[in-house]
Symmetry: C2
Subunit: 268 residues, 2 copies
């Protein structure tokens, strides 16, 4: 199978935390530093420059953060044998960049970071107060007008389930179709912080940020909660709200039928 | 009274949030940028370079953060009349520094940011996991060894109350005496994050960081909880643990008999 490691390679599962500020996102690009480039460079230093390849459970955009991204790393099968050495060695070589490995484990046969994943969880964070972000700078969307979280929750409930999400899909989206099943869309307030937690098997490009942008319009009272249902039914990106800024978004977890990091051979 | 505003000046109460990373702390110093210098410069720009003076509820050290520092600012009494203008105008002139005004209000007669304060609350945050901090970089103390929070709580309970805290007092402390009343010393875990909340009328220099350093020794099992009682009784700084790093510390709140920001004339 094309998705298995090449002959002579062994697959490792890695859990990553990164601060997306100043990075171009997960994928290698010509216009800046990517998480993929940093990870592969650090792994190459660990194994003395031998060949390797990586793939991710999901590509994050420029400025988006991760607290639990899962990535696969195919290394020469005699290069490293210990999960702790991978976790700590790659984290060491990633310094001083704000990227580190939280956990590492040998992958089970047939496991693929992207194709085996059954859920992705994102948290979108809004700082809702008059004063600009200071301690949370680069990690929140700053919304000055008071948000009505109850109205946002009411609107969010209309979006949960299996729908054509064309209204919340970026024009550049490369997915084969616009239908997704949104399992969770939960809005909560804790003081000045309003969080939007979203979970699905997979998301369309910019889907969470587009949902956050429209939920914000409900929160400030510009839209009724019911309007979100109408926007969803329109299947038209022009009907929905703006794309919320990237810095408020964090990939928190990727789910698999079996936790790749729970085995005794993992380091976590 | 020497503590009242000079003739022709009006006193304002400000609540500040700042990220202490890279700053020398609250107080003006020759070796770097202080919060006081940034605040006074920004306020001077708001009022066209006219004279002003400031004082704080407490001096924070280099690298220490604040989410609710209270400061007084004496401005010419005809310079500004609106609390919102002070909050937003000073915050604007503080850009791009990680310092901003959360709230502003005209001070009540006789009010002084430091002498009227009846409590200070600090939070010390530890990231307790093998991997170095990424998303919380510069805002936590990284402790790799697993912390026994129950043991820390047991030890902390021995320190609450009115005691001679000489064992937890920096040599450079300028307070007149070593006796303080520690009202709260609460240790909690939420996932990888362990927080130590401390509240007192006032603290000795480095007291919270010294308490955190000793609590950490209990947490990793190097000390029994009871040892903290013995260290306290010794009244000897050499008996206590190390001073925990500044970046884990945040001043969260300053208390007054009447909330300076609750009046209708405040902006918060």
């Amino acid at each position: 199978m094309a998705d298995d490691p090449a002959p002579g390679f062994r697959r490792w599962a890695l859990k990553l935390e990164y601060d997306g500020t100043g990075l171009v996102g997960w994928q290698r690009q010509n216009n800046g530093v990517s998480v993929q480039e940093l990870l592969e460079s650090a792994a190459a230093r660990l194994i003395g420059g031998r060949p390797l390849s990586s793939a991710t459970a999901g590509r994050t955009d420029a400025g988006v953060h991760a607290a639990g991204m899962v990535v696969q790393l195919d290394l020469p099968d005699d290069a490293v044998t210990d999960a702790r050495q991978i976790r700590d060695g790659i984290s060491f070589h990633l310094k001083p960049h704000r990227v580190a490995i939280l956990a590492a484990a040998p992958a089970a046969p047939g496991w693929h970071a992207r194709f085996s994943a059954t859920s992705r969880a994102y948290r979108y964070t809004i700082l809702n107060r008059p004063t600009r972000p200071v301690l949370q700078m680069n990690h929140v969307w700053h919304v000055r007008r008071p948000l009505d979280v109850e109205a946002m929750r009411e609107g969010a409930a209309l979006l949960i389930g299996r729908h054509d999400f064309s209204s919340f899909r970026a024009a550049a989206c490369q997915a084969s179709g616009p239908v997704r099943t949104l399992d969770v869309l939960d809005v909560r307030r804790e003081g000045e912080i309003v969080t939007i937690d979203a979970m699905a098997r997979s998301f369309l490009h910019h889907q969470v940020r587009n949902l956050a942008g429209s939920l914000q319009l409900v929160g400030i009272g510009q839209w009724s909660p019911a309007k979100l249902g109408a926007v969803l039914a329109a299947c038209d990106r022009r009907q929905a709200g703006p794309t919320a800024p990237s810095e408020g978004l964090c990939l928190t977890a990727v789910g698999y039928p079996a936790d790749p990091f729970s085995a005794g051979t993992s380091a976590s």
